[in-house]
């Protein structure tokens, strides 16, 4: 083995020009692999960290639904058909979540979309998260910065308005908002009718890292959001219909509806309306029960966000919750952070997959070039190898010598490539890659990407080195072995 190593090392040293050219190609190829994969890995981890740390936690518990439910509501046609479900048996679910040792913090939320107006002028649409400030800040202690004012006091209501929205109001509508001002919020849900709430702005904030979806988000006390989302105590009881009212239920045959001209006119009694005041003010009867029916359902939550002590517990948590829901017959479900984060997070993952594909193509091209260069280098030495065979070198000896030589060269070049790649990443990490627009912000998971050398990219590069070394020595070695020593020596002479 020592002789083989000595011969291989001597060959590498003696063919300096060839070694340099092949080595350089391999160094660049491996460096591209290391830098490209590390960039992608950092960005992927960045997005996950960015969302789990600031907005979603690791796990999202909701009521069961077949729709694509995110923290921002349904992001498919289901939203047209049904409201975001409440978590059934919320207290039981909460108690179970608290009993799990790997659960770090819990944060319940309610979400709805509203129109914002002031002095009868509709200003804009916005998304609201209904929260309890203490629980929200416990789970996301560092995700936002207060520009003015503060969260509302415990027991009272208020809205913490996103700075992007207050800037928009100032630019577009010349409305300058400050804590203490009041805004009117009108829900646009088709499921619970329209709801209006006038809420005091207690502060203006900005998310430290944001994206266009989060720019549309403001935080409000849960009580008002519940009312706006139609999460009230009262519910519609099954309708009791008269036989006449049931006449047109189901499908309708238009022709039979208009089959006789006599039936078009109905005899209706025109009544006289009383003119006294009492009549006009008692049209709706007693309104006493109205406030009770329309009061918010205090225990109702749409989302329970779960932060785990470590991400490694994610699978276990999903299994434990699924079993708990099944055993207790609770129509609830868990989703991971990516499902909860909404369209933009999914889009950034999609774009990343495309970028990964591009890196893969570059890697394949690099590998092909490296292999081709090595194959040429070995076949060029056919005469030398023929001579060795003629003076008694066995096939196995020659094959091992070629393999060792190639592995030595690719190994050394690969190591240099990894070191250079790490150096490039260190520089990029120090300088920071700034996202020049929203598109890159989404891909980077923030405004600046500071790439780090990823373990998987080093492992991948080492694997590539070994595979390339073995493959690129096997083929030329077998070609050389098939050629007789005499012919091989002739090729050297020719």
């Amino acid at each position: 083995m020592r002789i083989l190593l000595t011969i291989a090392w001597r060959n590498i040293r003696e063919n300096k020009v060839k070694t340099t050219i092949i080595g350089l190609i391999m160094v660049i190829g491996i460096m591209v692999l290391v830098v490209g994969n590390s960039l992608m890995d950092t960005a992927t981890a960045g997005i996950e960290r960015y969302y789990t740390k600031n907005y979603t936690g690791h796990l999202m518990i909701t009521g069961s639904t077949r729709g694509k439910l995110t923290l921002f509501g349904f992001q498919d046609m289901t939203g047209m058909e049904q409201a975001v479900p409440r978590i059934p048996e919320y207290e039981e679910v909460l108690e179970f979540a608290r009993s799990l040792s790997y659960v770090e913090t819990l944060n319940p939320q309610v979400s709805t979309t509203v129109m914002v107006s002031q002095d009868d002028e509709i200003l804009m649409g916005t998304q609201l998260f209904g929260i309890i400030p203490e629980l929200y800040q416990e789970m996301f202690p560092d995700n936002l910065e207060l520009v003015s004012g503060d969260f509302w006091d415990a027991g009272s209501g208020g809205v913490l308005l996103n700075q992007r929205l207050s800037d928009h109001l100032e630019k577009r509508h010349q409305v300058s908002l400050k804590p203490g001002d009041k805004l009117v919020f009108t829900s646009v849900s088709t499921h619970s009718g329209m709801k209006i709430r006038e809420v005091e702005v207690t502060g203006i904030f900005r998310f430290k890292q944001s994206n266009p979806q989060l720019d549309m988000l403001s935080l409000m006390d849960v009580s008002n959001v519940r009312s706006l989302a139609g999460m009230v105590v009262g519910h519609t009881t099954a309708a009791e219909l008269s036989s006449e009212e049931q006449l047109f239920l189901g499908s309708i045959d238009e022709d039979s509806l208009f089959d006789t001209s006599d039936s078009l006119f109905s005899e209706l009694e025109v009544v006289d309306v009383e003119s006294d005041e009492d009549y006009w003010y008692s049209l709706l009867g007693e309104g006493g029960s109205l406030d009770t029916l329309n009061s918010e359902d205090g225990g109702a939550w749409q989302y329970l966000l779960v932060r785990l002590r470590d991400e490694k517990y994610l699978k276990q948590a999903q299994t434990d919750f699924a079993r708990f829901f099944r055993d207790n017959n609770i129509a609830a479900q868990t989703s991971n952070w990516l499902q909860g984060a909404g369209a933009l997070a999914e889009m950034s993952y999609g774009i990343k997959r495309i970028f990964n594909g591009v890196v893969l193509v570059i890697a394949v091209v690099a590998v092909i070039i490296i292999m081709n260069t090595l194959v040429i280098a070995v076949t060029e030495r056919m005469g030398e190898i023929g001579t060795m065979r003629a003076i008694g070198a066995q096939k196995g000896f020659v094959r091992k010598m070629v393999l060792l030589e190639t592995l030595l060269l690719s190994g050394l070049s690969g190591l240099v490539g990894i070191i250079l790649g790490a150096a490039v990443l260190l520089i990029l990490n120090t300088v920071g890659l700034e996202a020049s627009n929203v598109f890159f912000e989404i891909i980077f998971g923030g405004k600046v990407l500071r790439p780090e050398l990823s373990f998987s990219s080093v492992v991948l590069s080492l694997a590539v080195i070994v595979i390339v070394g073995v493959l690129s020595s096997t083929y030329p070695a077998s070609v050389v072995m098939r050629t007789s020593p005499l012919k091989a020596m002739e090729s050297r002479g020719g």
């Binding site: 519609t236 039979s256 089959d259 001209s261 109905s266 209706l268 009544v271 309306v273 003119s275």
Partner: protein, 253 residues
């Protein structure tokens, strides 16, 4: 050559004549639209009724709403007060000329809404409770004669000229003799069928002819439709204060 010249002049004359006939026909159709609007309007009277709305939804099941309707077409005003279901009781829609207000009794606040919007979770649009304005809000695109059930009808295609209407394109089935709208199909800007409305019952109320039963079929969600039936119809004078915000607030307390 002479023959060719004759054919040319004959064709030109035919073209001029036919376009004149077509224009004449379209004017006739426009007159029919004016009549439809006029006979559904309460010019010198107020109008009130109790509307029972049955909303059939494949997801949510069947819901019933009872709504009190007050109309004063002279001042372009209406008020819709929801009586049932109990969770929506006291909510109101007040039209004052161009402004449509929605009132939420749980917050005692008014907010702007529009005639184009859907009424609650039904298939009705707020504009459906206002007087018809086919002749002023739409222009005639074309028409043809057709049959619907036992009725000889004009099938009239309309294009909106007024941006406040909920649907930019409408097709009407109008009886040829009495000029009653039996059916309408409402289309989006991309000419996608959004809703079909059927008017199987009419009644003579005061000087007006109004549909007392409406079936509104949602063409986007299969199986979703709303039927509206009118009862307790009256043309008695409604006090002026009924069409005010303060009345809506007070009556809902």
């Amino acid at each position: 050559m002479e023959r060719l010249r004759f054919v040319f002049w004959a064709l030109l004359a035919l073209l001029v004549l036919s376009s004149g006939v077509l224009a004449q026909d379209l004017r006739e159709i426009e007159k029919i639209l004016e009549k439809i609007d006029a006979q559904s309007r309460f010019d010198d009277q107020d109008f009130s009724a109790l509307m029972t709305m049955i909303v059939e939804d494949p997801e949510k099941g069947i819901e019933k709403m009872v709504v009190r309707q007050f109309r004063r077409d002279d001042g372009r005003r209406f008020l819709l007060l929801i009586q049932e279901p109990s969770t929506q009781k006291g909510q109101g829609y007040l039209l004052e000329g161009e402004n449509l207000w929605f009132y939420d009794p749980s917050s005692r606040k008014f907010a702007h809404t529009s005639l184009k919007e859907t009424f609650q979770d039904s298939d009705a649009r707020n504009a459906d409770f206002n007087q018809w304005t086919y002749s002023s809000s739409y222009q005639v695109e074309g028409y043809q004669e057709d049959v619907l059930g036992k009725f000889q009808v004009y099938l009239i295609d309309l294009e909106a000229v007024d941006e406040t209407v909920p649907f930019p394109f409408v097709r009407l089935w109008v009886t040829q003799d009495s000029h009653l709208v039996l059916k309408s199909e409402e289309y989006s800007l991309t000419r996608r069928l959004m809703r079909s409305s059927l008017f199987p019952k009419y009644a003579q109320v005061g000087g007006a002819l109004i549909p007392t039963q409406l079936i509104l079929v949602d063409e986007l969600v299969e199986g979703k439709k709303t039927q509206i039936a009118l009862s307790e119809i009256s043309v008695s004078k409604i006090p002026d204060h009924v069409f005010t915000k303060s009345y809506v607030e007070r009556v809902s307390r």
